[in-house]
Amino acid sequence: MELYQKTAAELSRLLQDKEITAVEVFNSFTERIDEVDPHLKVFITCTLDSALETAAAVDRRRMENEELHPLAGVPVAIKDNFCTEGIKTTCASKMLESYIPPYDAAVVEKLKRIGMPILGKTNMDEFAMGSSTENSAFFVTRNPWDLERVPGGSSGGSAAAVAAGMVPLALGSDTGGSIRQPAALCGITGLRPTYGRVSRYGLIAFASSLDQIGPLALNALDCSLLLEVIAGYDQRDSTSLPHEVPQYSAAAGRELEGVRIGLIEENISANFDPEIKFAVLKMAALLEENGARITEVSLPHTDYGLSAYYLIAPSEAASNLGRYDGVRYGYSADGDNIISLFSRTRGQGFGAEVKRRIMIGTYSLSAGYYDAYYLQAMKVRTLIRRDYEKAFQNFDILVGATTPTPAFKLGEKADDPLKMYLSDVCNITDALAGVPSLSIPAGLHSSGLPMGMQLTAAPLNEGLLFQAAAVLEKCSDSPPQQRTALNLTGRGEL
């Protein structure tokens, strides 16, 4: 087995035991990148030189028996909407095509501090708006399971990178499913943590009240290890939570005896792909075999979730993206006066989906419409939150499908925004409620594509999600590598 096929936990162990060096790990993954990235198109920017320096420094320090973080020397990729000092941060937009931030995002600081080599910045839907990574202004990223299909989005680059063994760990951002949906479509594990659990400082905003940073990895244990690194209070983010960061990785291995699990009716809906429904029910049965109690539960306002989300998120986005006006940084068009400078810059610098959402948001906040749209949506959000609060009085974990279908074809939904929006239908309400939500692999569809199951817990109960996920992984007869695209794509189709 190649190093690039190992999980972060395995690499961490081997590194700590000095059986391998961080540079060897680096070499294995970069060779893999050379091999598959031309086909998948994951990276907008590769930062291999600085990553190699980091790896070499980790090896040096380990030689000197310095105490290092367990993930020191384990490579990571980050979505291109995290600010990186001195390194282009584009949000996959023409608007920021050559933008170089003067500072590191809080999470990037943390990765650097513990010596995780950052291999590069991954492709995404422009400003994280989309569900297929087709909205990147630069290029399309392909699904490692089937190159004719999308990897999901908006963190499609990060998900494809992990699924194809280009990195063992990646960071994404999830506003309304952008970590979990691509994780499901690429057959890996991805967590949207509790809102406020991870500092947003330096994450280029899409919708501030919904944006949350989270890990993507081959399994739950790896996700928990990366979450331990990035979680925690940050005074630079007023919405970050002051709670202590527990040792999430200790959750894997705990029993499920007595854990109350609710099967969300709305997320195994009749119009979902039947194989996905079946896979979720099968996994639920496995949980039950392991001591959990399963009951069906309804989140009655789920039907309004998508509509509310597509008012709240665009409203915040319209405001957050106002700053890209061509005056200070980023793309700037020639204008005859200040108004034409603004309108041409924004007209030329943004892609169609971003403009669509800016228009929806501007409209929804406008005088005379605010009450009917934004305010109404906020009321729905409160109702959805209450649905969850009520459900968590009786349940510890809620489960359902992550997506209604497996990965769709490139271009299949590109011309129909509403269809595209519907691919996040299971992910939206968790985001509106601010609760943690984990997508894990749920086996393969008859088409050969991966499917995903989503597990949701009450705020700050990420540990419980990892616990359940680990139990399911143990029940599965194949190691995580075989449930991913690592072997399928490495020598086969690619």
Binding site: R200, E316, G322, D325, R328
Partner: protein
Amino acid sequence: MEFETVIGLEIHLELQTRSKLFCSCSTAFGREPNTSCCPVCLGLPGSLPVLNRKAVELAIIAALSLQSEIQKESRFDRKNYYYPDLPKAYQISQYDRPLALGGFIEMKNEGVKRKINLERIHIEEDPGKLMHSGESIFDSDYSLVDYNRAGIPLLEIVTKPDLRSGREARLFLEELRCILLYSGSSDCRMEQGSLRCDANISLRPAGSKTLGTRTEVKNMNSFRAVEMALDYEAGRQAAILSAGGSIIQQTCHWDEGDRKAIPLRGKEGSSDYRYFPEPDLLPLILKSDYIETLAASLPELPSQRRIRLMEEYGLDPADAAILTENRSLGDLFEVAAGEYKDYRNLARWVRGDLLYLLKGNDRNPSEVAPSLLIELLTMLDEGEINRPVAKDLLANIVKNGTNPRELVQQKGLGRIADREKLQPVVEKVLAENKDAVDSIKQGRKKAFAFLVGKVMAATAGRADPEKVQKLLRELIN
């Protein structure tokens, strides 16, 4: 027809914090352009605001000193609009849940007691500063922007339409400035832009209760400009209404040079700021005991001090007003009055010669040691020095902090009362001014004063005037 003028003011004050409202950049005035900036106040992608605790504290103190009711829960909102001086394309402000509601200022206008009510007080951030190569952003070849000001904490105070003339608006602002200087929340310098004022003004038939169509007047850069601009605009509206015309709701720009309020072109007034709650900040929740602690620490307000100065020290209203208006001058007076008991004399010196010298030398009253002032006045009272010498000594106190007694000893500035020392001087003056002596003999009193002056001049003002007069009379006769 007789009209009543109705004016409401919108005042912006810079809160006197050391760092900006949402980041740690310095608020110091007069720095090189764009040197007091960071990712947060430049609105760089990914940056987030963190509320400045001190700004909230100063805002609460200001609101409390204006009798405004602090809201236990207020909220920040985004005011969205595009302009190059606004780095995020939204200003973080407070919209429908402001920091404080209500409040008032009591003042006197031509002897009549007036109570001017406030609508609301809220916190917001300042945009940057634009400079155009031409008249405005639209007819300039280029515009320059300085973001040092972007993010400086502002307090916005909105009055009810309770003011009735330009003069009254000015008096209100002067009183407001005085109160806020006392509270220490803002330095209120209109010339540096730390106090800015816009006005809404309308006319209505005297006795009517309904409001007429208003215009907004901007760009008034001094208290005097506020008075002139509003009186001008009231006159303009009166002329239109008297001629049977009607007022168009518009924004006018006060032109200091031409002394005219010029209506602005364009679509002002139709702006839709698309306010919504700022998702990057939590609601501002204030605990009662925190507000109470601040209320307890509130200094005496100017109106209270004015009355106290009159009652406690027997000062007349004019002296009390001047010593109140300038807080540190009043403080100097009160410290000195602890030991020097001729209060009215002290007040005259402090608000007269001393204030004049302080202004002329650009010094602050707090730089003057009260003990030196007491020393000086005591020497004067006890006849050790003459008044002109005292003024010179006061100038030395202000400029150099010199001890007057030491200076008198050093330079021999004490009063000359010895007959032996004065007689030769007087004799010399008489010898040199025979004409004057003749005039006196013919009964002209003026000539006598002239001779006294000559003797004083010859002794550098040090001669004892009474002794000089006595000697002169003796020797002439």
